[in-house]
Symmetry: C2
């Protein structure tokens, strides 16, 4: 008998050789039907693989990240089986699960895949899935494996085999398809109920453009049709909400070849959004006791040697400028400059917590192939701040930062979010992690306590902390359910040491502060990119570049329209008149297209009664109002940063 | 007889060989006593030099820049005469007039000058000045000049002679001193009534540190003792108001060797001033129809080749970063980025004037020896904007910019200012200046008209325009009478062409816009440096980093002090409490030292009567006020950006 420890700490005894699926069945048949794989002592295994020793076990289903990726990896094998049936002689390279779905790279000889081929392959995959063929794992000697692929003249798998050690090699077979694969896989193909092959692309073998170009087929699968339908709908909607498309249509940002790739230029409309976000940040941070600073975008090499960013982070930095025999770098992060501000005047415990904030611009090198609209850029305007505090202050400071996030999520209508708490590994202290066992324990406990006490949804990840302390990655979901990484919070014990920062504590002794790095609104680039999709360009009034458009029914009413415009302008409302020679219906359509929150229509009746007829974006008429009355309403809406109702 | 044309256009006839002094005497003896030199056909001459042909003539007095510099250059000769008397065998290099005064570089052999020597020299100079020795100009052949200095074994003057052409060489003699000099000089030494030798410095011959180090003596002279006294007082005051000293004391900015020279880091207090200035600029510019943009601090080489900044301006730019086979530069100016924004969407005449503003950060290379506090830096935050307009709009746009300056001068209590209008030279069209004779005439006329119509004090300078259009340099004087160059306004016909900018005019044809470059608040660095001196650190309330300090007379009144603080905070007033254990007198002194505009003193009486006792910085008690009443007052003062009364 072996002992199986379940996630809730319960220990059960089973026959040696029991599988995770067996364990699941012993608990409930319903549960067993959902099991895709299992985490055995922290490693993901086939649910059907025999367990020979005492182990901790976590069943993985569609709700687990590792469950999903096992599902998609198995789907890649299923696709390969369909391809091999349709195109005998095809050779495969690698076929991993990705963020959303899977792909497989293949050598089809001279054959070019078409969209029609994908339909045929989908059909075949559905057929094979229905057969509920089990994924069968088999250990194989390197010699036998080599022989197998030599016989198939498969140079790709032979290449992969070169780097594998004898005794660690496994084959997986489902139906008529066998692949060299480390696994794990789902129990059988029957789990795959809904299939969509999404695209065909070229991919150089091993990513090297000197090599042969292989065919990459992307796909995504689900355990039921409903989820696939929702996903396809989301993709369709995401296309309409593409931030690059909306960014151009709404005059948010532009790019220029002469300026350079990944360096957005913010147009007037985008700059309004930037300034509203910065106003929000400044107001919130001032109220929370932050002070603001402004620091240069460059510094000498030595600063980044002290911080440790050089040489370790050099690949992500712009190359140096050599001047007066010194190397200057564009900064990739703001922290070292802020530490210099902390250090500019002696500090005592009375000065702590010392919180300094800056919408600091950083420059990071990303390969040109990685650049993507506002999402992957080389110039970032970061909602940055650093909090220098002592250990007693840490809990309340960290909680205050967490509260900030939640406050922002409310304002922006972000309903789904998860904090991903990355912890250290005690075995790697002094190697991967700063050797401060007590501080690790203390701060990890406090961070966890904050998340638990505030009811913030979070997951814990072992052995993924930063070198210098635990970190939290913040994941948020847009209105259409797409996931974005917004920002990172970090606790830092290392930089205060390397920068020799200190304050005089109550005992009149020098003490090293802790630092919290935080950026709740992330970067303007990524956050405005997210907001464009999240709002589909229909910004709430407080953020909208143009908040109100006054539409005179004809030129006769232009004077009154101007009167209304002036009344709004004087109250700081962003308003324009559409005085073009066109019908009112066209004016309304054009304004809707520019996604402007309010239209004020003025004609005979409005002039006579000194009112405006109000249309809300996407909602139509909301009635007639006296101008001052309506101004009071919209001002309230703006001041409260009300979201779209 | 020859014809002399005076500045008012009057033409008078004189004997051939008349001097400017002769002309002056023919007008008024009083005037003649003030004449230091004269501008003859645009060249500065000795007032005593005979005029042989028809000429235009402007008499130069102490009120003219060229009058002053002639006076100071003559003073350098006077000093040299005194030095030669005191230290026979001394050899002289060059002795020019400078911004304020003059210097002379000299080789005194092994002799080291001391402060005491300066006193002796001043006395000697005063003696020689009283002799009213005339400065006598003499043309001399190169051969005779060479012989003269060979006999004196003067290798320095011989070196200067090498580069002079025979027929252009002149000697000047006053009293017993003769110098190789192109002149001009004042009529005689008697004009120099007040003398101060200010400092001694070392200076490498020809500025090359491989050469011998010469002794440089600085001095300043005036036509009367009163002006010297005022000047020395101003120097004394300027020392107290040194922006570097105040900048540190008030926590405005700091520098860090690890970040780099000339790269100020703005501390929390400095950042408050930056943000208030930016708020002023944004409010003013928004009301004036500007839109705001945000652009990256770098661009590819090609952008600066198009703008013409490369290669001509390369020495003032940071060296390039080489990346992906391209050169990227830190920008030294914002205009090219703004042109790209203008160009991002097609423009019609209806979109003009298109005004875009950005507090853009630029990086300029200055030699490390040139760096000076906030005044000469390598990182500049510029109050920049570009106005794209057509010719019909130019006058009103330029006037609006001029009005902006005047508005700002009022706000900051700048009472003395001069616009220095630099014009082109028609003979150099197509060489030094863009070949657009009509546009030059038109825009110069319009710029002049704006200055005349608005009664703005200005001077005109021939042949000093930018390559691409007329420019205005704005000179302002601080409260203690020191002159600062604040900013430059430029008209630009060249960049719109090189960037191929255009708009569709009313005839549906493409037309090239004019551009106005403007930066009324200059750069944060220079302007805040100026303000520190101008206000002696005593910022008006709206700009003061801390506006109010609440001083409880003892801990007993701390609760009430906090109540008062909270009431102020809620109204957005920057307030702190001094809750340290010290006497009220000490608290007041400390607050005065930090130059905080208001102190609210709270004790028994204030608590009972629910009032505050108010002390104004530098003025003492101003009375007791109910808290809400006083808040209304200070809010009014802040909102109006009232200057210190």
């Amino acid at each position: 008998m072996i002992k199986i420890t379940l996630p809730d700490g319960a220990v059960r005894e089973y026959e040696k050789g029991v599988s995770a699926l067996g364990v699941a069945k012993s608990i409930s048949e319903g549960l067993a039907r959902k099991v895709l794989a299992a985490s055995i002592n922290g490693q993901v295994w086939d649910a059907t693989r025999p367990i020979e020793e005492d182990a901790s076990l976590k069943l993985l289903t569609w709700d687990d990240g590792d469950g999903k990726s096992t599902f998609w990896h198995s789907s890649a094998h299923l696709m390969a089986e369909a391809v091999e049936t349709a195109f005998p002689g095809v050779k495969f390279w690698v076929g991993p699960a990705i963020d959303k779905g899977f792909y497989y790279d293949m050598d089809l000889g001279d054959r070019k895949l078409t969209e029609e081929d994908l339909v045929v392959l989908e059909k075949k995959m559905n057929e094979l899935a229905k057969q509920s063929n089990p994924y069968i794992r088999k250990s194989i000697s390197k010699a036998d494996a080599l022989q197998y692929f030599v016989e198939k003249s498969d140079e790709y798998k032979l290449d992969l085999l070169q780097n594998l050690e004898d005794g660690t090699i496994t084959f997986y077979t489902q139906g008529g398809f066998t692949d060299l694969c480390r696994g794990p896989h789902i129990p059988n193909t029957g789990f795959i109920k809904a299939i969509k092959l999404t695209s065909i692309a070229g991919a150089y073998w091993k990513g090297d453009e000197k090599n042969k170009q292989l065919t990459r087929v992307y796909g995504v699968t689900f355990p039921n049709q409903k989820e696939l339908d929702e996903y396809l709908l989301m993709l369709e909607e995401a296309k309409k909400r593409d931030h690059r498309k909306l960014g151009k249509e709404l005059g948010i940002y532009t790019m220029s070849d002469d300026v350079g790739q990944g360096l957005p230029l913010w147009m007037p409309n985008g700059t309004i959004i930037i300034e509203e976000l910065e106003r929000l940040a400044k107001t919130t941070e001032t109220a929370a006791g932050y002070k603001r600073v402004v620091t240069p975008h460059i510094a000498k090499e030595n600063l980044y040697l002290t911080s440790g960013h050089l040489p370790y982070y050099a690949d992500s930095m712009f190359p140096p400028m050599e001047m007066d025999g010194e190397k200057y770098y564009l900064r990739a992060m703001n922290c070292p400059h802020h530490h210099k501000i902390f250090d500019a005047e002696p500090k005592s415990y009375k000065d702590l917590p010392y919180r300094i904030a800056e919408y600091g611009t950083c420059y990071r090198y990303e390969q040109s192939g990685e650049l993507f609209g506002l999402m992957r850029v080389r110039c970032l305007h970061m909602n940055d701040a650093h909090i220098y505090c002592n250990r007693e202050q840490f809990f309340s400071e960290f909680k205050a930062v967490n509260d900030l996030y939640i406050k922002y999520f409310k304002i922006f209508g972000v309903e789904k979010y998860v904090m991903r708490l990355s912890l250290h590994n005690p075995e790697k202290l002094g190697k991967k992690y700063v050797n401060e066992p007590e501080l690790w324990k203390e701060t990890e406990d406090m961070v966890r306590k904050v998340l638990v006490e505030t009811g913030t949804p979070f997951i814990e990840v072992q052995d993924e902390a930063a070198f210098y302390g635990p970190k939290i990655d913040v994941q948020i979901w847009s209105a259409i359910g797409r996931e974005f990484t917004l920002a990172t919070n970090q606790v830092d014990f290392a930089q205060p040491r390397s920068f020799k920062l200190s304050f005089t504590n109550k005992n009149n002794e020098p003490e090293i502060p802790l630092i919290i790095h935080r950026a709740p609104l992330g970067t303007h680039e990524r956050f405005i990119g997210f907001l464009l999709e999240h709002y589909a360009g229909k910004f709430p009034t407080w953020l909208a570049p143009i908040q109100v458009k006054v539409l005179p029914i004809s030129d006769k009413f232009l004077d009154y329209a101007k009167e209304v415009e002036m009344a709004l302008l004087q109250q700081g409302i962003r308003v324009e008149i559409d005085d073009k020679k066109k019908k009112i219906g066209k004016k309304i359509r054009d304004t809707e297209l520019m996604k402007i929150p309010y239209m004020l229509i003025v004609g005979e009746k409005e002039v006579n009664e000194k009112v405006v007829s109000v249309r809300r974006q996407g909602k139509g008429d909301t009635g007639s109002f006296a101008v001052t009355e309506w101004i009071a309403q919209i001002k309230q809406e703006i001041e409260n940063r009300q979201s779209i109702d």
